[in-house]
Each structure stands twice: as C-alpha cells, then as structure tokens.
C-alpha cells in the first residue's frame, strides 16, 4: 500500500499535485471543527471588510467571517461528496459484481435497469425533488437521491472486470472448495475491482459536488446550510462583484478550482495506474 503511494508520488507528477491540492483543501475544511463562530449565524462580524490580519479572507455582506464560513462550507461539501460516493459505490459494486459473476437473466435484468438509469437526466429529477420537498430537503436526503443516480456507469465498469474474473482459475478453486456466491464476490473478486472503485470514487465526488453547486447557485437547496454552492448563491444575490466585494467571489472560486483540480488529477492518475501499459511507459521501463 505505502510502496504504491511512494511510486505514485515519485513517478506521477499529476498524482503528487492532486494529492497536495486535496490535502490543502482537506486541512482547510478540517479547521472548521475548531471554528470560534457558528457558520449559520449572520451579522456577527463587521460586513464588507476586505482581507486583513483580523479577517484573513475578509467578511461578506451578511456579516460573516469568510475564513470560517468557507471552511465550514468546504467541510459540508466534502462530506456531502464522500457520502454520495460511498453510497453509490456500494450500489455499483453490488450490481456490477453480481451481474458479472452470476450472469444469465440476473445480468440481463440488472443491465437493463442500469441502462435506464444511465439515460435518465438527473437534473430535472433533482429540481423536481426540491420543488416538492422545499426546505424539508437536507443534505443527506439530497445525497441519498444523488447516490441512487450515481452508480450505473461505474457498475458497468465493475461488471466488465467481474466478467473476466469469472473464468479465472482461482474462482473455480473457490467454487469447488464450497465457497458461497456471496463469499466469492466479497473475498475473491472485490479486491480486484478496488482500484476502479477508488478512481471512480473521486470522479463521483466531482460529479456530486458539482451538481450540488449547480443546484445551490439556483437556490434549489437549503440555503442556510453553508456549502460551496450556497456561498456562491449568497455572493451572487448580494451582487458581490458589482458592489466591489471581490474577495467574496474570488477566494471561493480559487478554492473550488483547487478542490476540483485536485480530485480530478487524483482520479486520472489512478486511472493511469490501473492500466499497466501507461504506467510502465511513465516509469521509463
């Protein structure tokens, strides 16, 4: 495990940069656990102060210290992304492995459902959920809904790997030794798909946080809960750029770009690591 990490950092500059970016953002988000102010309160600091020694990131027009506000926002968004990714990984692993290994009608039914989920555009559905639930829709409900739509593409990837594993020697050994299907899948096949699970984990986080930003910017989430999207929403609704409170837009945008770029670099460098041909080329072998 650690030797893989060491190799990745040494030979893969994208992985190193991605790791550094994600680490910075994660530490920043973790600082919110020591926050001296409640990020949901408004008018607790002097509004519209530019970045200074007292307020590192300035304050916004709602009287919030942007440093702690953004720290809480990034924590909430990262937790949100991780929740969606974990839940949808569980579904995609279950569907992918079962469909690939069991095959037959199970495979056909699961893949039919899978193809339907791929083709349904999620955005109108999410807006619809907001429209009916309004303020009853908290982060976790949203994460649950998104997880229900975030699995199909990755399930197909996992299935393609499971199809190959099914005819390998060790699978037959396991079956002849009397292992149940559930055990074969969890103990024999799961380790082989873990690399895919990790790389799609990052991609899924990018997707879900991006969608949350989209929804929040339109005002379609719980706006009192600080997230990356709601910070932008409030900045926008106070016309921050027009009245000259540029730090309210600029600092979040820089942090967002860092987060997304970091996760994206991690995802693609892991993808490359999974493919041994490109890994060897990079290591110069």
């Amino acid at each position: 495990m650690f030797s893989i990490l060491r190799d990745l950092i040494r030979y893969n500059i994208e992985f190193a940069i991605g790791l550094a970016l994600v680490a910075i953002v994660t530490i920043f988000a973790a600082l919110s656990f020591f926050s001296p102010v409640d990020p949901t309160l408004i008018y607790v600091a002097i509004p519209d102060q530019p970045p200074s020694a007292q307020y590192w990131f300035g304050t916004n027009s709602r009287g919030q210290d942007l440093f702690w506000q953004l720290s809480a926002a990034f924590r909430n968004s990262l937790i949100f992304g991780i929740t969606v990714a974990v839940l949808s990984r569980i579904i995609s692993i279950a569907v992918g492995l079962a469909s690939g290994y069991i095959g037959g009608w199970v495979d056909r039914v699961l893949m039919f459902v899978n193809d339907i989920f791929v083709a349904i555009p999620i955005f109108p559905i999410l807006v619809l959920f907001y429209f009916v639930l309004r303020n009853n829709m908290d982060s976790f409900t949203l994460a649950l809904i998104m997880a229900c739509f975030g699995w199909p593409f990755d399930a197909r990837l996992i299935r393609s790997v499971a199809l190959g594993l099914k005819h390998r020697e060790f699978t037959r050994h396991a079956v002849f030794a009397g292992m149940s299907t559930r055990k074969v899948l969890l103990e024999e096949h799961l380790p082989y798909v873990m690399p895919i699970v990790f790389s799609t984990f990052m991609n899924n986080m990018l997707w879900s946080i991006g969608l949350e930003v989209t929804l929040a910017v339109l005002g379609f989430t719980n706006l009192n809960n600080p997230t990356i999207g709601t910070v932008l929403y409030w900045a926008n609704s106070h016309s921050a750029m027009v009245v000259g409170v540029w730090w309210w837009i600029l600092i979040p945008v820089i942090l967002i770009v860092m987060t997304f770029l970091g996760l994206f670099l991690l995802a693609i460098s892991m993808n490359e690591y999974i493919d041994p041909r490109s890994r060897l080329r990079r290591m110069g072998a």
Binding site: P121, P124, L128, Y130, V213, V217, F264, S278
Partner: protein, 334 residues
C-alpha cells in the same frame, strides 16, 4: 442489415422503457410527496393578495378539480398518462391560462439550438485535437493545450460561465451578456434578427464549449495513445501504409467507438449545464423556464418541463446510439 434492424429494435424498446420510467418517476415524486400542490398554490396566492375565506375555499375546490388530486392515486396516474399522450398538462400558473406545453414549445428551440451547436463544436474540436495530441505526443503546442484542458475541465459549469460573464460584461464589454436577442430587433426572418441571435449566443455557447472540450480532448488523447501502440498499427507502419491512412482509418476510427458511447452518456450532463448557462446569461430557454416555474410554484409547468426534457434527452441518446453500429461493425454482427 438485419443485424442493424435488430439493434435498432432493441434500442427502441430501451428508449420507450427509459421514457416510461423517467416520466413515472416524475409523477411519483410529485404525487407521493407530503406536499399538496393545491395548498402550495393557495399559499402563494393568499400571501400576495387579500382573499376572503370563501374565495380561498372556492379556489381550493377549483384547483383540486383541475389537478385531480381528490381521486385515488392509480386513477390519477392513468389520467396523467392519457393527458400526457394528448400533449396536455394543464394551464401554466405563471402565464395563466397559456397551456404549460405551449410555453415549453416556445422555449424548446432556444435550448435545442444552443445545446446541439455547442455539443457538436465541443465534440469535434475536442476529439480532433485530442487525436492529434495522441498521435504526435511530442508536439509542444498540443502538450500546452493538454495542460490548459486539464486545468479547465474539472471546474463546475457555473464558475466558468460566471468568469466569462465578469470578463465580457465588466472588463471588455464587447459581447452581449444577457437575453436571446437585442431588445430593438423585431423577431422575424431577417438578417438583423438572425445576427442578433448569433451574437447573443456566443457567450453561452462559449462557456459550454470551454467546459466540455477538455473531457473529449483528454479522453481521445488517452485512447489514441493506446491504439497507436497496438500491434496492427505497428504492422501497418512496417507494411508501408500511408501515415494519413493509418491515422484516419486505423487509429482514429477505432478510438472513436468509445467516444461515441461517451457522447450518449454525456448528453444528460450537458443538459444540466445548459440550465445553468441559461440562468447566468438570462437566455430564454427550457432552463430559465424551469427555474421560473420552480420559483413561482408552477406545478404543471415544472411537470411539463421535466417530462419534455427527459423525453428529449432520452431521444438524443437514442440517436447517438444509432450511430454506434455504423462505426463499429461488431455491434451490427451481434
């Protein structure tokens, strides 16, 4: 040929299943939720005006009849489908008494035009440059281009659109940043009107292209650089096949197959990007309509926009899927 027809039939069945499930989901979400559309509308009405209790009771009765919420859920589901097949989802509340479907029909060409042009431009530019970059891995210009693509690609739509808005609306006000066409131009088939539409669509389209092309570029580059190392390409090179033939017929054609599949997958995502783009640039399409409808609590309009967009996205995926066997003979033979 028979293989192709078999493939089309299978896909058509899937298309119908997708549309059926998607629309049923919209019905279920709206009807099984604890929130009553009638009360929602009443809440909005009575917050804005001074209605007497009798008037509210009468409105409630009328709305209950209009939405049919008094009936059992199966009956409502059945009614919903029969009305939907006739293309009638009731009047919009936002622009009462215009039917919701009329509003959708008016907004549709804007979104469709923006989506189709920007997706085509993005797909072609991204794949062409990506293929070149994969085929000539040492080209300095293409390498730099790859870095730029990698930097822009993961940024959310909204942020890119917003940065464009600030640059072109604030620092260099040379392009219109809002609306579908200039206020002083009369809609009609004139050069002025068409020119105005094109000019207003530059920024929304540009934001979609900027966000989209990176993914195609990076994907195509990776695919091509793998295909180039395949044995049959080496063999063709040794056999003295022309470089252009190898690039076009051997490498790019094979690398295109997964990209076409990816295009089908991407359409849904591009649609949600369009919604945001329309909102940022105040563009009169389906996205703006959906947002207005949600903000106004316009029940029939929200349902109309969702059903139409689900059908449209599923239809677009179907069309892209039909292109697949033309590129990949294995799909035909299946």
């Amino acid at each position: 040929m028979q293989g192709y027809l078999w493939f089309v039939g299978k896909r058509l069945l899937q298309l119908l299943a997708v549309i059926f499930c998607g629309i049923s989901a919209t019905f279920l979400v709206t009807h099984l939720s604890p929130v009553d559309p009638v009360e929602q509308v009443l809440g909005r009405l009575s917050a804005r005006s001074n209605l007497s209790p009798e008037a509210i009771a009468a409105t409630r009765a009328a709305l209950t009849e209009m939405y049919g919420t008094g009936q059992p859920i199966l009956q409502q589901y059945f009614n919903f489908w029969t009305r939907l097949l006739r293309g009638d989802l009731g009047p919009s509340l936002l622009a009462f008494p215009t039917p919701a479907m009329d509003l959708v029909g008016r907004a549709m060409p804007w979104t469709l035009g923006l989506l189709v042009t920007s997706t085509l431009i993005t797909f072609i530019i991204g794949n062409l440059l990506g293929a070149l970059a994969g085929y000539n891995p040492d080209n300095r210009f293409l390498k730099a281009f790859g870095l730029v693509a990698m930097g822009i690609q993961p940024i959310p739509y909204y942020v890119v659109a917003f940065i464009l808005l600030i640059i072109f609306g604030y620092f260099f006000p040379i392009l219109p940043v809002s609306g579908g066409f200039a206020m002083d131009v009369r809609p009609g088939l004139s050069w002025q009107f068409v020119g105005s539409i094109l000019q207003h669509s530059i920024l929304p389209a540009l934001s979609l292209v900027l966000v989209g092309f990176g993914g195609w570029f990076l994907g195509m580059r990776a695919l091509v650089s793998n295909v180039v190392n395949d044995d049959y390409v080496t063999y063709a090179e040794l056999a003295g096949v022309k470089r252009s033939t190898i690039a076009g017929g051997y490498v790019i054609r094979n690398a295109m197959v997964p990209q076409i599949t990816a295009l089908a997958m991407a359409i849904g995502g591009v649609f949600s990007g369009t919604v945001i783009t329309e909102q940022v640039f105040n563009y009169p399409g389906l996205g703006s309509l959906l947002i207005d409808a949600v903000n106004w609590g316009d029940y029939s309009l929200v349902l109309a926009v969702s059903t139409v967009s689900i059908t449209a996205v599923a239809g677009a995926i179907f069309i892209v899927d039909l292109l697949h066997p033309l590129l990949d003979p294995r799909v035909r033979a299946e």
